[in-house]
């Protein structure tokens, strides 16, 4: 069995374990390549169906093409699609750079806080109605207590310490030093009242694995990942004010794989285009403890 197939099968196993063990499960879909691969793996795991609701946190600063792509796949794959938004912060212009707050605070409000209230059901949630072909405000109040997230351990230091099934307490805090063990394909699927779980099926994948898999399976991706003739492309997708493209002439999946294999980027962090990571020493780590993926 080749490495990619091994990764694929392991991830499918984790997805099925998550589905078998949790009632209020959801999957975060950032529209980026990793969580889209995760979504694809769910279709594989469940034989063409996606029996898990998808959640997107819409900061309102996402590049428009990302939203179009999200809604196209939602229709085509019949996804049970939810999005959440921190509408209060947006209304008060607590945003960056056009509002009164810095990058990190903007992230905290539009992502961390929005995610928390969307998962808990305390903030506004919108769900795609396939019959009417539009989003409607969702009136259910249940919270999602199991959250599947497409993080990879090669992305960035703090992510390399993750478990596949990782309990978080009420405040979404992550106690890195005291995580229960995980071995022999047995995960910690029980948790006490008030805690919830993050599930990470892509932990062992690398950026290159992701692209190789996208190619192997023919998974549709946003064109922002490719050079459209200007000599730049996005390597990681985020909000437009804080995400910069990288210099690259990779025009398609093959070019990207070639680029990664030959090590053009091997010395540059994947998220280096994400400005918020740099604002303080352990910026992402701080955000992560608070629940941002």
């Amino acid at each position: 069995m080749d490495h990619l197939t091994e990764l694929e099968n392991k991830s499918i196993y984790i997805l099925r374990e998550a589905y078998a063990n949790f009632k209020n499960l959801c999957m975060l879909w950032s529209i980026g390549k990793d969580s889209t691969v995760l979504l694809w793996l769910a279709r594989k795991a469940f034989f063409g169906h996606v029996p898990i609701p998808l959640v997107h946190i819409d900061t309102a600063y996402k590049i428009p093409e990302m939203i179009e792509y999200r809604d196209r796949l939602t229709r085509e794959w019949h996804l049970n699609m939810f999005y959440g938004q921190n509408q209060a912060a947006l209304a008060e212009k607590q945003t960056f750079p056009d509002g009164q707050v810095d990058r990190l605070r903007c992230c905290r409000l539009l992502k961390t806080d929005a995610l928390k209230s969307t998962l808990e059901g305390t903030g506004p949630r919108f769900r795609f109605n396939h019959d009417k072909d539009l989003y409607e405000e969702y009136t259910g109040t249940e919270s999602f207590t199991g959250v599947i997230v497409g993080i990879r351990s090669d992305e960035e230091g703090s992510r390399s310490k993750e478990r596949y099934f990782s309990p978080r307490d009420k405040e979404s805090l992550w106690d890195i030093g005291d995580q229960p063990p995980e071995f022999w394909d047995q995960f910690n699927t029980d948790f006490s009242e008030g805690t919830h779980l993050r599930i990470h099926p892509l932990l062992d994948w690398t950026e290159l694995n992701i692209w190789e898999y996208i190619k192997k399976e023919g998974i549709p991706t946003v064109s922002l990942y490719y050079d459209q003739g200007k000599g730049t492309r996005y390597r990681s997708l985020g909000c437009y004010p804080c995400t910069l493209p990288v210099e690259s002439t990779a025009k398609n999946v093959d070019d990207i794989i070639e680029e990664l294999r030959t090590g053009k980027f091997s010395n540059i962090a994947e998220r280096s285009g994400r400005a918020q990571d740099k604002d303080d020493g352990g910026g992402l780590e701080t955000l992560r403890r608070e629940g941002y993926m």
């Binding site: 469940f46 169906h49 030093g177 995580q179 022999w184 029980d190 006490s192 540059i268």
Partner: protein
Amino acid sequence: MNIVIVGHVDHGKSTIVGRLLADTGSLPQGKLEQVRQQCENNSKPFEYAFLLDALKDEQAQGITIDSARVFFKTSKRHYIIIDAPGHIEFLKNMVTGAARAEAALLVIDAKEGVQENSCRHGYMLSMLGIKQVAVLVNKMDLVSYEEDVFRQISQQYQEFLEKIGIQATCFIPVSGREGDMISERQENLSWYFGKTVFEILDEFHKKDIDENLPLRMPVQDIYKFTKFQDDRRIISGTISTGTVNVGDEVVFYPSGKKSYVKSIEMFNQPAVPGIGAGYAVGLTLTEQIYVKRGEMLTAFHGHPPEVTSRIKVNLFWMGRAPMELGKTYHLKLGTMKVPVEIEKIEQVLNASNLDSTDTAQKIARHEVAKCILKMPRAIAFDLADRISPTSRFVIVDQNNISGGGIIYEALEDAQSQVRQMVIERNYRWIMSNISREQRFERYGQKAALILITGRRDAPRKEIARALEERLFMQGKLVYFLGIGNVIHGLDADLTNDPDTHPEHFRRLAEVANIMLNMGTILIITAIELQKSDLEIIHTSIDDDQIKTVWVGDEDSSSGMADLHVAEHSPREQVVEKILELIHTNLSS
């Protein structure tokens, strides 16, 4: 390839990993300089280990606190190094890391020699089933690169490994700090002619895929997604060992239910006629037999698994609180999860020095024990020396995985005989064309067995009649069967002495099984059911269909009842409570 690096704290694991990264050019550009600069700013000497300390609080504590994954590649292949911590409290992180690995590097400080965790980690590697272990005797620079020191430590550790039955792949003298024998040979160790760390890494071989062993697939779930007119009923799971082909006759354990593989389901992939170990698959069957998550799929014409509720195991404990006699835990093996208790502790071992005691009443953190475990119902598994993946289990204590172990012997239990008959019956079961789901849909209910028991003078039958009437009026397919109806008919050939007691219950359960198969909600009354009686019934019938109601105060079923009702509670109220208990069965 996944490699784990273990060893006593401060013996140099992080330094060696830092070296491996630097020597393979796997560090992000500028990282080395950045870390050097940081050290200079804080007036600290530069350490290769700092390269790994990505996390703030980890640097603060100065120890690697979790098993971190580090990626690098040699000219031959890609590696993931799992850096396990050396601090004693963090054994669970080491286990997490090591269980994912195909080979291990075990680091021993040449100056300090073999320490507590050098041994404990070695023991854990053997428990986890990791067979390829290279022992690195590090900090050779501190002992002037003396060959004698190396020989002596190697020999001492070799003796320890022999006692626990593992064989080191090799011993290598190294200096992580100076870079000797990591990627390059240097003058310092000119007396050493063996492999460098790089060479040995490239020589480790991938774990064999266990395709040649008998078929084992723990059932993960049964899918029936109806969207897009999908009518497939898919048994999903990851094949642990062996292969499965379309047309194969397969049996599920512990039930013994049998069918044939109709198709192997795939998404975005052409259909295949057969598939082997390691694949997460989906199967459809020719007969719609009722199986559930936790059962083990095997080939009918293959070596069958063990099925029992008592096992002899070798286990290691990592929980903060000790594992104790008389306390209930959960055991997870494959996709099966059952309550479990220690029946007997035979021997407890200190994994760091192999001291043992055979009078222990509990298993403390970081101890290893041989013991007998018992469960309220049987599970399907294999023995460690035959099919190791399905001999491995973990123990859950209050939500947390706290221990792990391997089964090396299957012991008889009180139900062994009945169980064998049930398996035999299921092997030979004659199928109908009507599925269980079709019946449920027709009757608007799921089959259930409600056992009403209690003291001689408790109003069991009255309750049963009231319940039957109520369900009947609701249009349900329901039947009340007093145990006497069987005793004086089907059991007429059995005498009344205690020896025949189990046989009465076996027959009662067989009758119930047929009626449940019909889709009936069956109400049975019996006087003071004992735990052993209930166990016979649970062994004979898919036990998620059974609900037990105890009427009156005393309870000889010791905790097996799902509902207790007072003898004199109003009848209507009791009926309501029972309806509540079976509410999920009352719609299809």
